[in-house]
């Protein structure tokens, strides 16, 4: 997952392409400070912010931890080496036959031990470790896939809104078409055909990202429609600035803030979608610890004998998504004074 993390870092600067214009920067900064202050006053948004912060922290921490394991011990499946880690067992490390303690219940249930606080899975791996590492997959996939949708949607929406006419017609029909096929179905078709029948989490990220382009394109387009009528756009055009540069430096930065709010809410939807994909077997592949994938294993055979296997991953997904939703709602309320609860 290290690659996706670094991709994310590369993408972040594109959030504020208008920063080189001094006066614009002051304006946004004041806006953001105001927004943050408002979020701090809103109790539910604050809870959301805390949840997101904790999950992000755990995910980053797990990323560092697993990279340390990989760097230090080479093969991650090598159990004794991975176990030498000070904090966690490696999530994919299967204990040797003698030590295997498969399907152990959590610590607070009869027969549970404190060394496996949430129990173990059918292969004897510590479930708590796998849940912790699962955050890494869910969160990074959620953010990267949303970023792909956001960037793609911004480009499509900006072009469509700025040029209007035939370009707009064609792009919007395409967007409507992509919108019509149930996202989950479209994503699976993407994954299977692009991967030639051997799915992988990378195809899932791209598939989810592309499928969410229409959603963002629509929002950006509607903003651009009003921005392009502004005097400063007219002025830039009169000064002979190229269309490409007008879109990049004026239209997009000024249409961006509602989309950013929407993106926060969309991360929740993305995580939900990826969990569904993994549950069906088209997202993360074993032995990667992923919440949806863990539910796939728990569903069916283990619903009778070990219900804990089904409970923890679902709770983890629920809390994570709830965090992003609360935070996004708070952000929306803070930015849109019309909706007061």
């Amino acid at each position: 997952m290290a690659t996706t993390e670094s991709q994310l870092e590369e993408q972040q600067p594109s959030v504020g392409p208008g920063e080189d214009e001094a006066d614009e920067e002051v304006e946004t900064r004041v806006g953001w400070r105001y927004t943050l202050a408002k979020i701090k006053r809103d109790a539910t948004a604050r809870i959301g912010l805390y949840i997101v912060a904790v999950v992000l922290f755990i995910a980053t921490f797990a990323a560092i931890d697993s990279n340390v394991a990989r760097l230090t011990f080479g093969a991650v499946q090598d159990y004794p080496a991975a176990r030498a880690l000070p904090i966690f067992d490696h999530p994919t490390a299967i204990p040797p036959p003698g030590e295997a303690n498969a399907n152990a219940p959590p610590a607070f249930v009869d027969g549970g031990t404190l060394s496996h606080p949430l129990g173990t899975d059918p292969q004897g791996r510590d479930y708590f470790t796998r849940i912790v590492y699962g955050s890494q997959v869910s969160v990074s996939v959620g953010i990267v896939a949303t970023a792909i949708g956001l960037i793609g949607g911004t480009i499509v929406g900006a072009i469509s809104g700025y040029y209007g006419g035939k370009v707009d017609d064609v792009l919007m029909r395409l967007v409507e078409t992509l919108y019509a096929i149930p996202p989950l179905v479209l994503i699976i078709v993407f994954i299977v055909f692009l991967s030639g029948g051997s799915p992988d989490i990378r195809y899932a990220i791209v598939g989810v990202g592309i499928t969410f382009i229409p959603v963002f394109a629509r929002i950006i387009r509607s903003r651009v429609l009003s921005v392009r009528e502004m005097d400063y756009i007219e002025a830039a055009r009169a000064a002979g600035v190229k269309d490409r540069n007008i879109i990049r430096r004026h239209v997009i930065p000024n249409s961006f803030s509602p989309v950013l709010v929407y993106a926060t809410l969309q991360i929740g939807v993305t995580i939900l979608t990826v969990a569904g994909l993994s549950f069906l077997g088209y997202g993360a592949q074993p032995p990667t610890p992923d919440w949806g994938e863990m539910l796939r294993i728990a569903h069916g055979r283990y619903m009778h004998s070990n219900i804990w296997l089904s409970i923890w991953p679902g709770l983890a997904i629920l809390v994570t998504i709830m965090g992003f939703n609360l935070f996004g709602d708070g952000l929306q309320d803070a930015l849109d004074p019309r909706i007061k609860n």
Binding site: T177, P182, P183, V189, V192, G196, M303, L318
Partner: protein, 332 residues
């Protein structure tokens, strides 16, 4: 433009989208790396002669645009292609599997509407009171929980632990009772309802939560309208205001949301049918994907897209029908 004219206009507008869906599914299936016949044989030593014979038989050796043209002319006549894998026409398979999915999706919508609207109204009426907070928390959890996990939890609680409801499959009310081994219609229908409850709740919760949020906001807004204030000033009882003045105008956005959410619901059906082992279109899609059955994948995608497009057209038309203020059709 009259209502009939508007209906026809909306139906015509749906055609380019349907063509678009057919192009996308066709291109995805045909431009993918690897050719269908070899992928279908999945690693088995393919005899060159055999591959060529299969390709010729199903027209796969022809250029892309010819194949698309053949596919389209078939589609227009209701022919969705032929599943090589199952040796049966795709449309026949779809007809077989559409019933359970439609039953599931429709019942989930009924569940969502029946619960969301009263709860939304109560929340709006008792704004910022405990009832409102509880309903908002329920809505928040509803939009944050994966539907398939709700399904798993319902199975664990009601089927495994309590043993009161069945955990898998559906009983189809349109079948004769004898086919399911039931004595009479009463038992048959009770059984079909019992089988439907858990998947319906699992699929409907997300819809319920979304609708509840919208209903609450809409009711709050319409309770602040001038005509509601006027009615209050005239001393119209609060119940009548809720039922007659505020309620009706608040329902319009709900209709739109229902139409747009159809796409999510159909996608959710894929998951819920997997969880509850229901033999609907969703499972058919997953089976087709696993077998790399190209024609069937294209068929299911096409039909699901078409159901969504038709659903949106129906909601648009009913919107125009219910709201007298809508001036249909005039584009800006």
């Amino acid at each position: 433009m009259g209502l009939l004219k508007y209906t026809i206009y909306r139906l015509l507008q749906a055609i380019p989208v349907l063509i678009g869906i057919s192009i996308i599914t066709f291109l995805l299936a045909n431009l993918a790396p690897g050719d269908p016949v070899r992928l279908m044989l999945q690693g088995q030593q393919a005899d060159e002669e055999l591959v060529r014979t299969i390709e010729q038989r199903y027209g796969l050796d022809q250029p892309l645009h010819v194949r698309y043209w053949n596919y389209m002319t078939g589609l227009v006549q209701g022919d969705l292609g032929y599943s090589i894998h199952r040796d049966r026409p795709v449309s026949e398979l779809m007809l077989e599997r559409a019933g359970p999915t439609l039953l599931l999706v429709l019942s989930a919508y009924v569940f969502a509407i029946v619960t969301a609207i009263p709860l939304g109204i109560i929340a709006a009426k008792r704004r910022n009171e405990p009832t409102d907070h509880i309903s908002r928390i329920v809505a928040l959890i509803g939009v944050s929980t994966p539907s398939f996990w709700i399904g798993i939890m319902l199975i664990i609680i009601f089927a495994v632990q309590l043993g009161v409801l069945p955990s898998a499959g559906l009983v189809y009310p349109w079948q004769p009772p004898e086919a399911a081994g039931h004595d009479g219609y009463l038992e048959h229908w009770i059984e079909s309802i019992r089988h439907l409850i858990l998947p319906m709740i699992a699929l409907g919760t997300l819809q319920m939560a979304t609708l509840m949020r919208v209903e609450r906001t809409q009711m709050i807004e319409s309770l602040q309208e001038e005509y509601v204030k006027l009615a209050r000033a005239y001393g119209v009882p609060e119940r009548t205001i809720l039922r007659k003045h505020a309620f009706r105008s608040a329902q319009l956005p709900i209709i739109t949301i229902i139409g747009l959410n159809l796409s999510t619901a159909l996608g959710g059906a894929v998951l819920i049918e997997t969880v509850f082992a229901i033999n609907g279109m969703g499972r058919l899609f997953i089976e087709a994907i696993q077998q790399l059955d190209y024609q069937l994948i294209m068929g299911v995608t096409m039909v699901l897209g078409a159901i969504f497009v038709i659903g949106v057209v129906i909601t648009d038309i009913s919107y125009a029908y219910i709201d007298p203020r809508v001036t249909y059709g005039e584009r800006e």
